[in-house]
Amino acid sequence: MTSPPTTTSSSAPVLALRSATKSFLGFNALTDVTCELRAGVVHCLIGDNGAGKSTIVQILSGLAQPTSGTIEVEGQVTTFRSPADALRDGIATVYQEQPILPLMSVARNFFLGVEPRKRLGPISWFDSQRANTACMAELSSLGLRRVQDGRQLAGTLSGGEREALVIARAVFLGAKVLILDEPTAALGVKEAGLVLRLVSNARARGIATLLITHNANHAMSIGDEFTVLIHGQVADHFYRGERTQLQLLELMAGGEQLDFLSEP
């Protein structure tokens, strides 16, 4: 293992998976995987399809439990029996399909379940003005500036903007850890840039991020720490600047040389 560079914090990780193995019917989807997420660090989890990335997401978000190994939250061993447990510990998972409500406004989506209220005696109602203003302030501070009006229907947002809305909501609700499952996979270049900028702004606020991707370019452009999975095992773990993009691509291809691509 390489030692962390001095720029990253050396305190206990906000969230850590230690020596985790997950077997399904005798088949090991994960074998002895360790993965640490630190405040203000973007940790990229890279691997080809079937490498075990989704299994790690499931374990860290409470959807599945490891067969062996532990989860630690700020140094304390814990178990997530459900996604609610993970959420309670400040772990927000954003999946590829953005769970927004297209026919509701951006602000109402943003504040769903935690709506600001106005009150007069026993009667309370939705403070839409405060919701609009706060939502717009939050979105623009994270770098989403094309949306001008909180009353705009969320269904009019582009794929990247929807993703950004969900991430911004999680950050606003106080997430300490963001798990982003292939956030840029279905997006165009510009849209992916929007999401990556948002991730970078979240990092600046001290949020720990696990970015799952199979796009080496996106990973190298934003990642601080990298874990490469092959067949459910950690094939490599390194920090920013320790590998070239070509080395990373070769690793992702399962350690095979990609030279044949240039052959006639």
Partner: protein, 321 residues
């Protein structure tokens, strides 16, 4: 253009078109007279109260096909308790409303707990209730039709008229105002839209989706009972077969009013206009002097046009800013 993006846009246009049509063909034949207007407003109100409730339920992502039978439960409870057993009128009315709450809870709890489609659950309730009412009425009274007279304050409240404008119009407009406020201004309204828009998302965001759905089922049942009481107050007769097809009429009015069948979208004002269109078309045909046999065909066509134009409007709304 911004106005066209409102959920009620299609409904308002529909009402204007249908109204203009009947003014053209029946304007001089009493359609626009005080009595005519009072008649079709009353008709619209009777549909409108139920349509409002089922509209909210559809927005929350569920259906209620038991509304016709629950309407009859409301009517029969009053007819049986006061008309046959001579209870005080207010006691029967209170019991009828309580039964509405219980039936709503029954529908809601089964749907929420079992995850069965509300279409099936409430269809079962509908048959259960109609069958049980027929059985009970014959067993207890030997009749299937009862007579009950509303007097005093209850008469004014449920069947009063001001210059041909029946009291039910006030109920309808008042409830529409209340539901408009709940849907657009309250947190609970936000939850209703979210529950029907995407159940999983709503639940994950912390919305109490079960509570939302059950409340909406109670609303449809109580609204049906209210209409049953109003009908009884107006006609003084109660039949165990009352309210048949009401459950479909209110769904038509809600959908013509711009409520999205798949949930998550619609407005109380839209449903008000949908019901108004229904009321105008229903009695308008009578005033033209044409054969009223054509009404159902007209209604079916109206529904189809409304669904097509609403879906077109919605696509437009999501395509551009």
């Amino acid at each position: 253009m911004a106005l066209l993006r409102r959920p009620e846009a299609g409904a308002v246009i529909g009402t204007v078109v249908v109204f203009a049509f009947f003014v053209g063909f029946a304007g001089g034949k009493g359609f626009l007279g005080f009595q005519g207007v009072g008649n079709w407003l009353g008709n619209a109100a009777e549909i409108g109260i139920g349509a409002l409730a089922v509209g909210v339920l559809i927005i929350a992502g569920e259906f209620d096909l038991s509304m016709g039978s629950v309407l009859a439960v409301g009517a029969l409870t009053v007819g049986l308790c006061t008309g046959y057993y001579h209870w005080p009128l207010w006691a029967s009315i209170a019991l009828a409303l309580a039964l509405g709450v219980i039936i709503g809870l029954f529908n809601g709890l089964i749907v929420v707990r079992t995850g069965l489609h509300s279409f099936l659950v409430t269809l079962a309730t509908q048959f259960l209730l109609y069958g049980a009412m027929l059985g009970f009425a014959r067993l207890l009274t030997g009749q299937t039709t009862l007579i009950v007279t509303f007097t005093g304050a209850a008469r004014v409240l449920f069947a009063g008229t001001w210059d041909y404008f029946p009291a039910e119009v006030a109920w309808w407009l008042g409830l529409t105002a209340l539901v408009t406020w709940v849907l657009s201004k309250t947190v609970f309204g936000n939850w209703i839209y979210a529950t029907g828009g995407n159940l999983r998302t709503a639940r994950m965001a912390g919305v109490k989706t079960a509570q939302v759905k059950i409340s909406c089922f109670v609303f449809t049942a109580v609204a049906s009972v209210l209409v049953g009481i109003i009908e009884t107050a107006q006609t003084s007769t109660v039949s165990v077969e009352q309210g048949q097809l009401y459950e479909f009429e209110v769904i038509i009015a809600a959908v013509v009013g711009g409520v999205l069948m798949t949930g998550g979208y619609g407005s109380a004002i839209g449903v008000l206009f949908g019901s108004l269109t229904y009321g105008i078309a229903d009695l308008g045909i009578f005033y033209t002097g044409w054969n009223t046999d054509w009404f159902q065909a007209f209604l079916g066509g109206l529904l189809l046009v409304a669904v097509l134009s609403n879906s077109w409007l919605r696509r437009k709304m999501l395509s551009t800013r």
